[in-house]
Symmetry: C2
Subunit: 213 residues, 2 copies
Amino acid sequence: MKKHDKKQIPQRVVSRLAMYFRVLSQLDAAGVERISSRELGEMMSITPSQIRQDLSYFGEFGQQGYGYRVKYLYEEICKILGLKEQHTMILIGVGNLGRAIASYTNFRNRGFYLIAAFDVREEIIGKRFNDLVIKPMHELGSFLDENKVDIAVLTVPASQAQEIANRLVEKGIKGIWNFAPIKLEVPEGVVVEHVHISDSLYSLSFRLREKTT
Amino acid sequence: MKKHDKKQIPQRVVSRLAMYFRVLSQLDAAGVERISSRELGEMMSITPSQIRQDLSYFGEFGQQGYGYRVKYLYEEICKILGLKEQHTMILIGVGNLGRAIASYTNFRNRGFYLIAAFDVREEIIGKRFNDLVIKPMHELGSFLDENKVDIAVLTVPASQAQEIANRLVEKGIKGIWNFAPIKLEVPEGVVVEHVHISDSLYSLSFRLREKTT
DNA sequence: TAGATTGTTAATCGATTAACAATC
DNA sequence: TAGATTGTTAATCGATTAACAATC
């Protein structure tokens, strides 16, 4: 019986899970077979306690006196994160950023499939991108009626993001990966993951100043 | 006399500062003149206490019984974040992602100037990009000898990121904006800001699963 | 003035770390 | 077996929230 059974998992823990996943995949690729929480902690600059605490939310993956089998732990975290399943994605906004995200081939390897791309700009509608023909925005609704879409990748200007999000939610989209620098208001049950690109540059600017002042 | 004078500012607070900055700039653009911590908190889904607590790290910007003057608070946060100064940036890795980041015009408006772009790929070296001619990587060292660069934007594959970071650090770079999905090891005094694009997708995947299971 | 709202101190809450019995 | 390392409970630490005197 797991300790944390009922509680929902803190966002912090989920983020670290994604980090463990990344490091373990590297270790596995490098042929490492076992690792202790102490070694893993050293690699990632976090405490062994934190790693064991985090993992205990999901089950028991190690062995006393031995540590963790890298491949097994990797597979388990993969399952926990839902990376064994397939996810369909659509891209909204086929600018530089949209293209960059969508062509990152690794996502496809992890089960994230891009099945359509939309844009408002006449000059690119109908053009090919990554095996897809770019569709006009006004076809979004009918496309969503006819296709099961798990995740919408939103790479449009901030000024349009909320309005598009509303349309997506209305059509039943449950996951939005938002790159627009704006907080989206969505109803309970819809998951929004925001990538704070510009905020991150401002943080960097602050910390550079902090050093020198 | 400020309360937190000696302490260094928690990363959390800095991130929220960037959020306040964004929201205030929108409010100001919309012509809003004053706002209370309660109203701002409502807009951002955080408590008024937290806003006041955060701001108290840096000074006193409000007025009892009135709240905050939007334009003034905006300007002050702008100063705190260092967005009144100019920053020079170089781009390393002119792929889709690099292009997207570098062409985001708002950065220039905030004082971030891209002064060079580097890549290893023969086929794009010498081509123009955003008023710049793409330089070969082997010119990186000499360029850094001759130019003051504040921030290096790293949009290269994970496999090359650490090696390039080492070269940058060696040449005295103090700020690295890292988009490669790998933790960079840098000496004390160098600030690395990491944008976790893929981790964020894995988080989204987890939270979608969490809802349905 | 009376009402509103700040800045700051104190209380609470949650997350991280330490400690240790269990056991491979 | 003895040493190592887990999973988990307890202690600590830090961050968030509540409360309130100060005052516009």
